[in-house]
């Protein structure tokens, strides 16, 4: 009895911990492979539906046809992605810079915030698709209207988040800065800006995808090149395979943009933003 109760030697403990790490490793692989399996299953269902119902390829192409088109027209797709990417990146830079600058003014001049913030919210409620033709009329057919649409679409979420971030500084932190006789400038750069970074990045992540949407919407109205223009052309020509390949190309860019922002966020925001003490 007593010998049964005695704790076994460490050897068996190591065996247990070995089994535990194996289980952990298996679990990790499961989590990686299952989404891939899910995706493959959906592609198969897509392919099967088109084959079973004999859907003609100008209505909806099978996945393998889309893949072949993507490969065959890769050069042309990239040539069109170039301008769209440029518009999205410029719009992203412009819209977010403006939002950060205005948020900075709002935080320092309460009356300016009270005067213009409600108007900003009101303007935000106008759908971007509706403002696109107005901007094309104002700015012509070049890059300018597309960049502006992308910028406008990025602007509001960043403005709102940045104002909230800059103002989320705790009362005690402000008292601390006061006891240390910090200047307004020091409070801004040493306290407010770092505090706002997690808020800023969550807006930038959204902006990375919406900037691409803005550029594409801009191209729908009067453009010869770009992902948006290609979407319109392919639709008019009943070239469904090209349409799908173009959409794939646009969303791949958008996802990549999002991931780059997320990577930068991980490098910059290294503290636990939840546990601000």
């Amino acid at each position: 009895m007593a010998s049964d109760l005695s704790i076994p030697e460490t050897v068996s403990l190591e065996v247990t911990s070995d089994a535990w790490t194996t289980a952990q490793r298996r679990e990790r692989w499961r989590r990686r492979l299952l989404p891939l399996a899910g995706g493959a299953a959906l592609l198969f269902i897509w392919w099967a539906l088109i084959a079973i119902f004999h859907v003609r390829s100008f209505i909806a192409p099978a996945p393998d046809v889309v893949a072949t088109t993507f490969y065959a027209k890769f050069g042309m797709l990239m040539a069109n992605l170039g301008p769209t990417a440029l518009e999205a990146l410029c719009g992203f830079a412009l819209g977010n810079t403006a939002a950060i600058a205005i948020a900075t003014v709002f935080v320092h001049r309460k009356s300016v915030e009270q005067a213009f913030f409600p108007i900003a919210v009101l303007l935000h409620s106008i759908p971007v698709v509706a403002t696109a033709p107005i901007l094309v009329l104002l700015l012509g057919n070049g890059l300018a209207p597309k960049v502006s649409i992308a910028a406008i679409i990025c602007f509001f979420p960043t403005l709102v988040n940045m104002v909230r971030g800059l103002e989320s500084v705790g009362a005690q932190s402000m008292e601390l800065m006061h006891v240390l006789s910090a200047t307004q400038r020091e409070v801004f750069f040493k306290l407010r800006v770092p505090t706002s970074l997690p808020f800023l990045f969550s807006a930038l992540r959204i902006a990375a995808s919406t900037a691409t949407v803005g550029a594409i919407v801009g191209e729908w109205i009067g453009s010869q090149v770009g992902i948006g223009a290609l979407i319109i052309q392919a639709t008019y020509n009943f070239d469904a395979a090209l349409l799908y390949a173009t959409v794939l190309c646009g969303s791949a860019f958008s996802v990549a943009f999002f991931q780059v922002i997320r990577l930068i966020e991980r490098l910059v925001v290294r503290w636990d933003a939840q546990s601000v003490s």
Binding site: Q172, E175, L176, S181, S277
Partner: protein, 270 residues
């Protein structure tokens, strides 16, 4: 661990002189509907190098009194002197250190950079000659080796130690502490109480310490300033008679128990 030679207090050259003087201090907060009197005609003198604890029920203005001395809250009437200067002058001279209820560390800075913060703001980029540097202060509060740790990697007690080191940077002559251990568990709190006394002995700083714990007030303070609530006013100043250096075990002695009982009796009339 501390030897008695460490605990022999360096007597400041100007011992006995007042570090903080409040005369007829009144603070009112105006809101739209009514005026709240947080402090009414409070007069108190804190001698240089002494340890005063502020004890009273919530709403008695303990924190307000500390904030007036630190120039965070302006007095409505009356006079406050910190080292014979106005609180604003003392603050600009960095003669006041403040420890908040929460550690109030900047979460993106490691422990050492948090302690260094006072050297980066307020136009004070150099330490006064002879005062302890950031690394030395971290060692003083028992955090040697934790310089690179970020606040979220530290426990609540360790974070409060960092904030004490930050408040001590530049050797302030007056250290104000606003319920600094109130959010900590009892074991951590006891340990920090004993360590705070050691730090007080080693630095010779005047300490004013707000607490709502009778035992903390009696164990730490040479004197306990008891405030009554609504409006906040001085009820009694109790001198605590305990042999130095104080040890946690003294809290079980009859002498300590009697003094704590007296504080409790006075508190019931506040």
């Amino acid at each position: 661990m501390a030897t008695s030679s460490v605990l022999a207090r360096p007597v400041p050259a100007d011992a006995g002189r007042p570090a903080v003087e409040c005369r007829d201090l009144t603070v009112r907060f105006m809101s739209e509907r009514r005026t709240v009197t947080a402090l009414e005609r409070v007069s108190v003198t804190v001698t240089e190098g002494s340890f005063l604890t502020l004890l009273g029920p919530s709403g008695c203005g303990k924190s307000t009194l500390l904030r007036v001395i630190a120039d965070i809250v302006p007095p409505s009437s009356g006079d406050v002197r910190v080292l014979s200067k106005t609180p604003a002058e003392a603050r600009r001279n960095r003669e006041i250190g403040f420890v908040f209820q929460d550690a109030t560390l900047l979460p993106w800075r490691n422990a050492l950079d948090n302690v260094r913060l006072p050297l980066e703001v307020g136009g004070r980029h150099e330490l006064p000659p002879g005062s302890m540097g950031p690394e030395e202060l971290l060692a003083l509060v028992g955090l040697a080796g934790w310089e690179k740790a970020l606040p979220h990697e530290l426990s609540g007690g360790m974070r409060q130690r960092v904030s004490i080191a930050r408040a001590l940077l530049g050797g302030p002559r007056v250290l104000l502490m606003d319920e600094p251990f109130g959010a900590l568990d009892e074991i951590t709190r006891d340990r920090l109480n004993e360590e705070l006394l050691r730090i007080w002995h080693e630095t010779g700083t005047t300490i004013i310490f707000v607490t709502h714990s009778i035992y903390e007030a009696a164990f730490l303070g040479q004197q306990v300033l008891m405030l009554a609530a609504r409006p906040g006013r001085v009820r009694e100043i109790v001198t605590i008679d305990l042999p130095e250096p104080r040890r946690l075990s003294m809290r079980e002695t009859a002498g300590f128990t009697a003094q704590a009982a007296h504080l409790r009796a006075v508190l019931e009339t506040c």
